[in-house]
């Protein structure tokens, strides 16, 4: 598949927005050391708008750049998982016609099934397995880490990601259906 210019720009700008969100827009959730991070909700949102390739690339570029600029190092295992999650959620793009402004109960369900599967497999399974293979870390630890990260992402995406998509769908509403009231 040839990427058109618009998708390329979407990947580039999307990754920049993700980085800024990831750096600045996160709030303490009340559970120690766990923040509600809007960045992954945004990744899910972008993946539904632009498809699996864009989702995977934004996930990849972002995680790599965030790691590199914040820690001066890149953990490829988690970078790959980010790309994987972006790609899987991006598959929902075919089933949700967000550009037509349709985002009702059925679409919300579809979106959340995709994101839950993506996060469960990605963070709950893929990330720990890669950590064990590459870093030989204890399995209890990495599975718990993965489960916490995955769960946090699932909740964030379910709440904030769904809000983002709903707002976007509303911006596609046609003016014709509206009338002034006195």
């Amino acid at each position: 598949m040839k990427l058109n210019t618009r998708t390329i720009v979407a990947i580039g700008i999307g990754a920049a927005v993700f980085l800024v969100l990831n750096r600045f827009v996160s709030i303490p959730s009340g559970i120690p050391n766990t923040t509600i991070n809007t960045a992954y909700a945004f990744l899910a949102f972008l993946a539904v708008l632009f498809g699996p390739i864009a989702g995977a690339l934004v996930g990849f570029i972002d995680h790599a750049l965030t790691d590199a600029t914040a820690y001066g190092s890149i953990w490829w295992s988690w970078v790959i998982v980010s790309a994987f999650v972006g790609a899987i959620i991006g598959l929902a793009w075919k089933r949700i016609d967000i550009e037509k402004g349709i985002f009702g109960g059925k679409e919300i369900l579809t979106f959340n099934i995709y994101q839950i599967v993506a996060n469960a497999v990605g963070w709950g399974l893929l990330a720990p397995v890669l950590d064990i293979i590459i870093y030989a870390e204890p399995s209890d630890k990495v599975f718990l880490q993965g489960a916490v990260a995955g769960l946090a992402n699932i909740v964030t995406i379910a709440v904030i990601g769904t809000i983002f998509l709903a707002i976007y769908a509303k911006t596609r509403t046609k003016t014709g259906s509206l009338s002034k009231e006195s």
Partner: protein
Amino acid sequence: MSSVKMLSYIKRDTPVHNLCGVTKLVVFLAWTIVCMLSYDTRVLLVTLCFSLIIFKLARIRWREVRFVLAFIGFFLLLNDVAIYIFSPEEGVNIYGTRHVLFQFSSRYTVTKEQLFYLFNVTLKYLTVVPVALLFLITTDPSEFAASLSGIGITYRISYAVSITLRYIADIQNDFHNISQAQQARGVDLSKNVSLKKRISGIASIAVPLIFSSLERIDLISNAMDLRGFGKHKIRTWYSARPFKTADYIVLAGMVLFVLVGLYVTFHDGERFFNPFVP
């Protein structure tokens, strides 16, 4: 602007800076791969020494990386503690012997094997750091897209990365402005308010940031189309650095390094170096 400092390119005239970006990218990737595959203490130590030498060559100053190194150090320490809490016998399992030094409780003993294992984990994470830092600090971001394209990634994807690097500063700026304006409307993200309010506060900053950024996408892609982006199968790069003799030497050295490193690690069919077996 109270922008948070990010690690970034520092312009200097050193042999490392003057290498072609493609060379540096290949070295960086090969290096991290070796560090990921190998668990051999000797290989990791030698690699770490090498990277410190290159650090010196690139004339990177201590204060330029001090902050990030402290940050990583803290992170690795935390990670070691976590590993120990979860699995105090991991080292024993890996190396197959058990030399107890002392004991906290029935579950938590300190063994030579566990200490050596933790040392190796830390070393493994640490070895990648200097190379990654080197790569970030000595590679001109405007050359980066050209380098990605140089290792065979399609220029379309390479250009997406270039766009990210180009617009981060603009979007960060937008973020600060939006955040200030929303705070003036009473948005509070601190722990003083309820979780529900915090979420709605965060959405009130994220939503305008995201939607005003989406508007840019069409504009920028039109501007690029109007200037012929995507016309041909390949494109040239204004800021690509030409390949020189030094680059060939470095690449040849890197191949040698990878081969030796992997041989030393795997010649006994085991990726761990085991000093406990007599």
